[in-house]
Amino acid sequence: MTLKPSPSNTCRTGGCTLTGALSVTTHVRDAVSVVHGPKGCTHHNFSLLHATNLDNDDIIVPALVSTGLSETDIIFGGEQALDRTLDAVLRDDPGVIFVLSTCIVDTIGDDVGMVCRKERGVPVIPVPTAGFLGGSFQNGVNNALLALAGMAAPGSKTSDRNTCDENKTPSVNIIGEKTLEYELCGNYAEVTRLLSAVGVPVNIRFVHNLPSEQIARLGSAQLNILRDPALVPVGEYLKKRFGIAYVPSFPSGISDTTAFLETVAGACGIECRNAVAEEQALQDATLAEFADLSGSRVSFENAHADQDCIRTVRKVAKVLKMKIAKNGCPVPLPTTTPVGVSGVRRMLHRWRCSIHA
């Protein structure tokens, strides 16, 4: 893929709000996401979501419906088109309908909220999007998660809750997984591996392949685990609404996994010394697998990686006694910070290929 955003101005390259929101709403399995705009906007996103779902071995097709705005609608207003589309969507009996607007709709000033307020027998939830007018991709994700959280009843106090099943086992919610990332499944598997080590089950993945009825369970976990710190506003909202504390991100790199175990165990009131010892042994064994990289001179290829990612990979390189130098062998950085031991292991396999190329 060749991308040449120009000029390089980060506030302009934050991605499309609509895409961010759809990466959340299309994972509510009995929902339909209505995109109010020209067909092209919906196709762009449908194609992207379809492709990433296939990458993640998920053959479920995202349920998107475009209001198919024409030039005439854009001149005279598109509210009737939205109203008509919502009526049409109802015929398929969805559990919930999300309505997302596009750049052009906000530019012409359609009152999407007004159309959504009409009683239709199922929840019709507008999600603030509107492409670049709504902010960035991450704004879209956060706005959609907040809109969905509004579907859950306010929770009781943490001390009264603590459980998700009859065995009184404390559980956690996974909040805001990056459903478009290629490593989605692997990262979730790494987190559940760690949770299993301290005997904590996942209450719900908010939101990944989630039936809308399960959103009501959002408030019944002991702890929320955010995918990354960009979701802190969502974590704060859930803390205020349900009284649930949060961990601000999946474990970054290899050494964070033990701290992650201790944090989760502490929040759930679980003894974790054995789990931490076993995890430490796994970390040591994993690093030993890549002892041959010791002494290699490397440089990092991905100039767009975030600071957390660079910090994490520098730490890994240091532990392995690798030398970071401008003229070192270029090695690829992950798109996002590698999650846990398995994320670092995959990254080191790629580094080994580059060094031996």
Partner: protein
Amino acid sequence: MPECEDPLWPCAMTGAAACLGGFRGLDVIIHGSSGCYYYPATLLHAPLHGTFMLEKEVIFGSEERLNEVIGELAGKGNRIAVITTCVPAVLGEDIRSILAAHDVILVDSPGFAGDVEKGYQTALSTLAPQVDTGMTGINIDGASLFDPFSRGNVQEITRLLGIAGVPVGTVFSQDNLEKVWQAAPFTLGTNEDFPSGVGTYLGGTLGFRTMMNTFEHIARVYDGADIAPVCDEIEREEDRVTYTCDKFLRRFDPPSAAIFAGASYAQFAADILERYLDADILVMGTRNEPPESSRYPAVQVQGLHHVRECIERQAPDLVIGSSFERSVSAGRAFVGLIPPLRGKVRLAHQPLAGVGGTLHFTEEVLNACMEHKPAVQ
């Protein structure tokens, strides 16, 4: 009904980018939001630029921003083209006046103006291609970056023309920009959904029979063309296809097929399946306008809901289309013909046009069908 569930075909803006992005020596700017930029940039694998408009430019105008991006690209040797998207198109700014100070090609092709073919045509007509009667060779038509087979098509037709001793003129739209205005007087088609309309059209190259007719046409109009080796190859390879398909039919029933593609490729696929495999074409769902006259049951299908209905109603053995179709084909034999073709690694530039194109398509069909082993009645 204007609303559309899971629309399957890109917008006019993407079509314009698919045309302009294929020309070397042209820097293409998508004037709009980042969302409008990323889709064509990732789909077309072309080095596109964007203005990445923000809210303030919607309110106060985009002139300054457009000039900023053009200023970064200007003076580096390439011409610049600007494609407008939906929002700038309705803001009421006089983009043409804004660009008057620059040597810039403006293509007004907002997404709501139509589908990908419309945008491709708009962009190409804006470039205003010209025939240079002094140029030798034959142009190759229909090579759109949007088509995953376009590079393979160009390679294959270049090979066949080379065998016939005919140089390639201009490739529309994958060539050096200046060749747009130095096109040869004659043109061959590949994907006929993306015609240039430049020069005298000699015919298409999809399927052996069409190719034979086209090369015979070349022999009549192009001095010095030696088509005998090409005709020999067509006959030889058609014999191989006939033999292989016959062998398939000795063991299996002919497939019943549902085909979803642009009209040009859909017609090609249906002809191959019927001619060599006696296949039953249950439906030919075209993304664009269906052919005016076709002996196959043709209907325009633009949403996945409609595709799913067709497949469920017709219950074909074989589904041909994009990975969208594969998603709703319930495990049936599948062959990819149009974008997107996701979930499968594709590195080689496979053609659909030319001799190699028919061979490639036929082997894909036979392998898919044999893998699914249709029952002998």
